[in-house]
Every structure is written in structure tokens, then in C-alpha cells.
Amino acid sequence: MSELVQLGAPHDRPRPPRADELNLRFSEQGIHELEALKTHYPDLKSCILPGLWIAQREYGGFLDGAAIAEVAHRLNRSYAEVEGVATFYTMYNTAHKPGKHKLELCTCLSCHLCGSYRLRDYIKSKLGISHGETTEDGLFTMEEVECLDACDRAPLMQVGDQYYGPLDEAKLDALIDQLRNTEGSTVVKMADEIVQVHLRDVERHK
């Protein structure tokens, strides 16, 4: 059975914090953005997805129990509801804390045709990680993902808010070197970019 199938895989979720443990961590910017987003929809429930993006940024790329609890609290929803939503979507990091950079290698049809499984094996030999694993230094997480819809650039990989392709071993080497020298986490950057595109220029936090 392929390890890519995540259905039924053990999902280690942290225990939700008790009410008296609630420790709100959203920055002033995050609060401002959530307020702006509330004007985009007729109800608070619809803010759950963008709210989770803010949380993913504010909590360093990982939605632990405290992050879910904070979104639930700020949107006046139950913990279980927000947890349920967050765990449905693959881009919210709920299954495990990702490394500083997530290498999301597409192994779907066109990328498969263009040799992406060879690149997967190459990453395994170079960094020692396969699907869902993180390097010991906490720098890289590898994930096999489904079609990223840029198949003209197959084989393709997404890292943070950028697509890279067509890739080969040499380009992968260069990319990994470049990421080693990248200051911030591309996982956090991606969440931030996603929050920003929701907001009009006049709504952004200055």
C-alpha cells in the first residue's frame, strides 16, 4: 500500500487546551487582519479558513491545539468544529510540525510521466527523508503532493509560495542550497502571503 494515502493514518493531535489554559497569541497584525476578514462574509463561520491561515503564520507554521483553540475562540466557534475543518485540508499543518521548509514534490500524473519519482528517490538519498518526514536539523520536510496544476513545468515542486520546475537533480541541489541560506521559514511566509491576498490594499495592516 502506498504511504501517500493518508486516510486512516495515525493522526497525532494534541489535546485541546482547557478554558483556563487559553493563551491568546495573535499579534496586533493578526487581530487587525481577522477583523478586516470578518467584513468579507456574512457570518463568522466563513472566517474559519482564512482565520486558520493567520494562525498558521502566527504559530510558526504548525496548527497545534492552542492555535485551533485561539481561532475557535476568536470566531466564537467550538474547538471541535475548527479542528474538524483544519484536519480536512492538506495545506494546514496539523499532522506533524513541519520543518523550516516544506518540499512539496508533485508526483501526480504529468509529473509522474516526467520522472518525479526519480526525484523523490533523490531527495531520500540526499536528505534521508520521504513523505511526511523531517530532517533531524528541522530544516526540511518532504511531502508528496497531488497535481499542483502547473504540469507544463513537470516535474514540479512547491516550496512556500513558489513553484519550481521543471526540476532535475542539479536544480534540486541548487534549490536546497538556496533554501539552506534562506533566513525565514518558507512555511510561515506562505501562510502570510495567503492572508495578504485576501485583503484589499486599504485593509492591510500598515
Binding site: 486516510l7 495545506m91 516526467c114 519519482y117 497531488e146 496544476d149 504540469c151
Partner: protein
């Protein structure tokens, strides 16, 4: 036929992504015209044009537009864009949003005029950050210059447009699941007509909602500007497909990319536009995204692109994600990968799809590993028939069709793999594809 570019005509001009550049190329003329038209007249133009939904189903667009209540209650009317492009092999909406964002914005604004829309939402898949950034920029400029927001171009009409990103789920491309997701839920499909009202009556937040694909909205400015009559002359050689369609060509071709063609163009011509097959002879083609049945080289030779015409070769136009496979491709492995995709992406709501996609994957997985058993092909066919038509939404059907199609067209490859424990394809390049 050569390419026929409407939507993509100025795609490679960076200025076209700015409001000034768009205006310089005749942008927003359609909106200005539409502002002077009766609502019904706009819908009638769309009807005359023969435009059909470009997301995959090919449903006549005007019927949706016409289905929004003409009398407004106290409920808002929503104009929703399905930009959750997720079909493997398809990347046209991405290019439209990145390079011709104003066509989508203008198209949605026109749709808003025709249906008394108050608010529009563009639901973009979470991975498409570049597309969202381009749209964001375009929307901000449009607001600043009075093309969106209150009192559009002094007409007294209002229309707001919001961007909403998904977070990684193929299922959200299904329209009712997309609405669930936009409303802050797990991206699972909802009951549909006749068991529930149509979205045009009760969609987002129980209000009338018009939902179309990115490319469909992007067609609207051309239809309004030049008239539905004119648009319907494009593709007139086909039975019932009008206008142009963007095909995303990928896989084993020399020049992968998006190609906008008129309906009636042959699949062979499309392959030539993409620079022909790379790395060997043509073996097969999946013409319309991963969900549509695979066809062999002989069928590629005679396939004409049109909603009805593609049925002649037992396949579909689908979303236009066209993948060509060369002779070194093992069809069993390719279909295994397709099945893996659907098993991964099944939302888990209904049993036929949730269980069926996993069973198909398990059977294909053992065949692929050389442990196939006699009767596995029949078992696969049986599972397919238990999914097809029985799943809650179209994802189940879409998972069954490629397997059914592959067994029909390439049965001997499955038989060989089961009997010999290895692929019929043994050439050196095929190893590159081995998982």
C-alpha cells in the same frame, strides 16, 4: 486549424495585467456596453453565443444565469467563481488569473449585472498564490478606478469582489463542496437538485448564487463586446460546441503549455501545436484531465475537439487537461497513479467513493507489484460499476472512468502484468517513470 486566441491573445504582455494596459487593449468596453443593456438582454447574448461551462461539465452557461431569480428578495445575490483548478493535467485557469486577470474580473462584473449580483467571490485553490497575487493587484486597481465597489462607473450599480483561498483539497472543485468550503466547513459536497434547491435559488448562505468556472467568466467580455451571434460562429463546424477552449497540454510533448483553439480543431493539431511527442512514438492520450477515459494513438488520429465529437472516441473534453503518453509509458502504472490520486482526494462522505477508490488502488497496487491475481481485471470492473453513478458527487464517477477506459483500451497490458508479474513495457526510458 491554428490557435485561435481570444482569452490568451495578450497573455504574454505584462502591461495587460495592469488596468491601463487592459484598457488600452479594449478592456472594459464590454462592461460599458453591458451597463446600457437590459439584464435579460445580457443573458440572451450569452444564450445566443452557445457558451458552455468550461470547468468540465459543459453545461449551457445561460441556463445558470437565467436561473437566478429576477425578482429580488431581501437576500443578496452572489456571483461565485470556481477557481479551484485541481484536475491533474489542467493549468489554464492559473494562466488566466495570472496573466489576464481583468478578463475574469470584467466577466464576473457583467455576470453580476445580469443577475443583480451584489457580491462576488473568487475561490482559488490555496497553492495558487501567484494567481491570487495577480488578481489581488488587479482588483485593487479596479476598485481605485471605480470599476468595482460602489456606483460602478457612475452607473449607480454596486459590485464587490472578494478573494478566498482554499487550503488543499481536490474535492473543493465540486461546486457544492466549494460552497461548503467557502462557508467555513470541510470541503464536502451537499445534496443536489432535485433533492435540494439549485444553487441559483439557494447556494451560498441560502441565497441565490451563480457559479461558473474561471474560463467561462473570461469568455463573457468577448461575447458582450462582439455579440453572441459572432461568438457562435467560432466552432460552428461542431455539433454543439461554440467558441474557443483552452487546452493545457503536458506529459510527453516537446512544448507543453496552454493552447487556445476553436472547437472543431483536431486533437492531432493540438499535439502538433505542443511540438509533437517527446521521447518516442505516441501511445495514448488523456484528452481532458485525469477523470476522462484514456484513448490510444489511433483514436488520437481521428479525434475532433468538441463536447459531442469527443464522445465518438469514447472520451471527453473535460476541463481541457490534455496529457500525451509516449510508447515507454506503462499504462498499468499510469492508471495506478490515477487511482492513487482519487483515493487520496476522496472526501470520505459517501461509501461507494471512499471505499471504492481505496479498493481500486489496492487491486492496482498488487498488480503493479507483480502480485496480481486471475480475476483482478473483472474485480476492478465490478468495483468501477459499483462506484459509477452511485457516489454522492461526481468524484466517484471521475475515479471510475479512467480505470474503466484503460481496461477497455489497453486490456492486454493488464492481462500481461497479471500473468507475468511485470509490465509489458520494458524499455530503458520507462524506468524513469517507475514509482
Amino acid at each position: 486549424m491554428a490557435e485561435r486566441k481570444l482569452i490568451l491573445e495578450h497573455a504574454h504582455d505584462p502591461a495587460y495585467r495592469t488596468l491601463d494596459g487592459y484598457l488600452a487593449k479594449g478592456g472594459y468596453e464590454a462592461l460599458k456596453k453591458a451597463l446600457k443593456m437590459e439584464r435579460q438582454a445580457i443573458i440572451d447574448e450569452v444564450k445566443t453565443s452557445g457558451l458552455r461551462g468550461r470547468g468540465g461539465a459543459g453545461f449551457p452557461t445561460w441556463i445558470k444565469w437565467n436561473g437566478i431569480p429576477k425578482e429580488k428578495s431581501d437576500k443578496l445575490h452572489y456571483v461565485l467563481c470556481n477557481a479551484d483548478e485541481g484536475e491533474p493535467g489542467t493549468f489554464k485557469d492559473k494562466q488566466i488569473m495570472e496573466q489576464t486577470p481583468y478578463l475574469l474580473i470584467e466577466g464576473m462584473t457583467i455576470a453580476g449585472l445580469a443577475t443583480q449580483g451584489d457580491r462576488g467571490y473568487i475561490y482559488i485553490r490555496g497553492e495558487f498564490i501567484d494567481a491570487a497575487r495577480s488578481l489581488r493587484n488587479a482588483i485593487d486597481q479596479a476598485y481605485a478606478k471605480g470599476y468595482l465597489g460602489k456606483n460602478i462607473l457612475g452607473s449607480g450599480r454596486d459590485f464587490d469582489l472578494f478573494i478566498h483561498l482554499g487550503a488543499g483539497s481536490y474535492e473543493c472543485g465540486e461546486e457544492s463542496a466549494l460552497m461548503s468550503s467557502l462557508m467555513g466547513e470541510r470541503g464536502m459536497p451537499r445534496l443536489k437538485f432535485p433533492h435540494a434547491p439549485l444553487p441559483t435559488i439557494s447556494g451560498l448562505w441560502d441565497s441565490p448564487t451563480l457559479i461558473n468556472n474561471v474560463e467561462t467568466y473570461a469568455c463573457a467580455p468577448f461575447i458582450i463586446k462582439n455579440g453572441g451571434e459572432w461568438y457562435s460562429t467560432l466552432g460552428a463546424s461542431t455539433k454543439n460546441s461554440r467558441g474557443t477552449k483552452i487546452f493545457s497540454v503536458s506529459g510527453h510533448v516537446n512544448n507543453p503549455g496552454n493552447f487556445e483553439i476553436e472547437f472543431g480543431t483536431s486533437l492531432k493539431e493540438l499535439l502538433e501545436m505542443a511540438g509533437g511527442v517527446k521521447g518516442g512514438k505516441l501511445k495514448a492520450c488523456v484528452p481532458g484531465g485525469s477523470s476522462v477515459p484514456i484513448i490510444n494513438a489511433e483514436a488520437v488520429d481521428r479525434a475532433i475537439i468538441g463536447y459531442e465529437e469527443m464522445a465518438d472516441v469514447k472520451s471527453m473534453v473535460g476541463s481541457g487537461g490534455c496529457m500525451f503518453l509516449n510508447e515507454h509509458t506503462c499504462i498499468v502504472t499510469f492508471i495506478w497513479r490515477t487511482a492513487l490520486f482519487y483515493a487520496n482526494e476522496s472526501c470520505g462522505k459517501c461509501t461507494p467513493c471512499r471505499e471504492g477508490t481505496r479498493w481500486m488502488l489496492q487491486i492496482l497496487d498488487r498488480i503493479r507489484q507483480g502480485k496480481g491475481q486471475q480475476g483482478d481485471i473483472e474485480l476492478l470492473e465490478e468495483v468501477c460499476s459499483q462506484i459509477d453513478g452511485r457516489s454522492f458527487c461526481g468524484l466517484g464517477d471521475a475515479a471510475a472512468w479512467p480505470v474503466q477506459g484503460a481496461i477497455r483500451v489497453f486490456r492486454e497490458e493488464f492481462e500481461y502484468f497479471i500473468a507475468n508479474g511485470r509490465s509489458i513495457v520494458t524499455s530503458e526510458p520507462s524506468l524513469v517513470m517507475a514509482p
